[in-house]
Amino acid sequence: MTTTPAAPSTFTPPSRGRLLGSIYAGNSRAVLGRGLLATRTSNYWIILSGFFEPVFYLLSLGIGLGSLIHGVTTTTGQVVSYQAYIAPALLAVSAMNGAIYDSTWNVFFKMNYAKLYEGMLATSIGPFDVALGEIAFALLRGLLYAIGFMVVMQVFGLNLAWTALLALPAVLLIAFGFASLGMAVTSYMKTFQQMDWINFVMLPMFIFSATFYPITVYPQAIQYIIEVLPLWHGVELVRGLTTGSLSWGLLWHVLYFAVMITIGLIFTTKRLKALFLN
């Protein structure tokens, strides 16, 4: 015989920080926990593939092309091997790719097809909890990939200074920036066709942002355009740290991402609120 549960509720609803009003319940942990639990049913090879992507690039271009190219001059005038030149860029790119994938395609699917957020927001959770929790999950995964790739770099002798360790928090910063902005952009998307526009922006950014060669090969005007793009800042920041050529200029890149994160979070939360609580 089945019994009807009639347990009186013994929990009290969590109190919320008044700062963010009805958009934040201080419970983004529950959203993060959900993400972690969901990985159990996912395909482990797919999760692993995120680690292999930059390694494939490093093996191919680093070794194959590296044998044709003898030394590249970085922004600070240091001459490094081609492998040491592209490795930090690949690290930054993989941070971007992971964050963008998680915050665009994954979010798009959860929003429009799985109706996941609709379910979450019918509870006492607010849109800011959802945004923070989802981004935290993306960052956690990104951190694991980054650690893996840093180990590969160490094995190949591509971490040229101890400051390379600082590349880990830098990668998190980059991923945070792309994830928050990516989620904001995705919230405006209605169809898969519109989602393709994200790729149109990503591809040239990937190729042109001093990933495989210095931007000095281009005329000054094009260089200015590249310097506005977030990936260039990410690449320069990580490269500065792994090659050990530090300067105060690196702080500009940090500031760039801080602004990007703030804008992204504000827009994401606003949009989630408009989409699900209106």
Partner: protein, 327 residues
């Protein structure tokens, strides 16, 4: 307005010393506009604690929009709305922490197993992990899904998914359960299992608010119904009272073939209290259906098929709007 039932036991925890109001939901002149389209047009109703309240109407009547406003996930355009004495505009998360929501389309977490769906959902309310695990097992039992605890959501049947959604909505032990078309798309057997579960909740004093366009569902589950059409309330009362007020005891359905119905209808004057001519059949309303059918045959009209049945809410709706509920 009917007398409210007393506040059932086990419903007073949750928000501390805050006074439980007479009505758990009070809406007055509740309106929702999307640009030029008025989805809900100034409706007013109250729901008492422990009551089972239904919104009956065709697709597009504004039922789901009303439910979303009551669920504190849709901001009203004008009017007043109070849920458990709180205004959803100011206290969305507090109100939602006291509600269980079963949406029209299942939005279960496909990436989680059955039991994990309940646990994770409970965590969204901030329920401690140990407590929510115990609650999940109770609810699996209640939803008759204990042996499917480790299944993928994808592998459940439609009826099982629906039961899981209802179990999920109960994870926070809600004061009010909102069900938006709970059995649409289910086969008859699955519907009966579901009704049984909902009936148990009702017996135990949970306040149910449900929308439906199925008359039998409303008749089975609801103490009181409002009939909505085009965003407005057309009638209100218990299923039996509505039928009594707006229809006769019985109905005769006769078919003369689609091209003859309209022409024959003119020859049926005086039989029954009134009649409705539909494209495929004629309905004749009378307290004594058999007698009415006999008179039709006496007039020399021989219908291809005939059926005498009890009046239902479908007839009430037809009377009120001149249209069928479904389609």
């Amino acid at each position: 307005m009917r007398a409210f039932r007393g506040n059932p036991a086990g419903q007073s925890s949750g928000l501390g010393s805050y006074p439980v109001p007479q009505a758990v939901i009070t809406a007055s002149s509740l309106t929702k506009k999307y640009k030029d389209f008025v989805a809900v047009d100034g409706i007013s109703f109250e729901v008492a604690p422990g009551e089972s309240f239904g919104l009956l109407g065709p697709n597009g009547a504004g039922k789901s929009t009303t439910m979303r406003m009551v669920g504190a996930v849709s901001t009203r355009t004008s009017g007043d709305l109070s849920i458990l004495g709180l205004d959803p505009n100011d206290h969305g998360p507090e109100i939602r922490s006291q509600l269980g929501v079963v949406p029209q389309q299942d939005n279960l977490d496909q990436e989680l197993r059955v039991r994990d769906n309940l646990i994770v959902y409970g965590r969204y309310f901030g329920i401690p992990a140990r407590q929510v695990a115990r609650r999940a097992d109770e609810l699996l039992e209640f939803a008759q899904l204990t042996d499917r605890a480790k299944s993928r959501v994808d592998d459940l049947s439609g009826g099982m998914k629906r039961r899981l959604t209802i179990a999920r909505a109960l994870v926070n032990d809600p004061r009010i359960l909102l069900l938006d078309e709970p059995t649409t798309g289910l086969d008859p057997q699955a519907r009966h299992i579901l009704w049984d579960r909902l009936f148990r909740l009702k017996e135990q004093g949970t306040t149910l608010v449900l929308t439906t366009h199925y008359m039998d569902e409303a008749e089975q589950l609801c103490d009181r119904i409002v009939v909505v059409d085009k965003g407005a309330i057309m009638a209100e009362g218990s299923p039996a009272a509505l039928i009594k007020q707006y229809s006769t005891r019985e109905v005769v359905e006769v078919r003369f073939g689609s091209d003859r119905n309209a022409q024959v209808a003119t020859q049926l004057d005086g039989i029954g209290e009134r009649s409705e001519v539909l494209p495929d059949r004629i309905l004749i309303y009378s307290d004594n259906g058999e007698a009415a059918l006999t008179r039709i045959v006496e007039r020399g009209l021989s219908p291809m098929t005939s059926l005498v049945r009890r009046s239902s809410l479908e007839d009430v709706f037809l009377r009120l709007t001149g249209r069928s509920l479904i389609e």
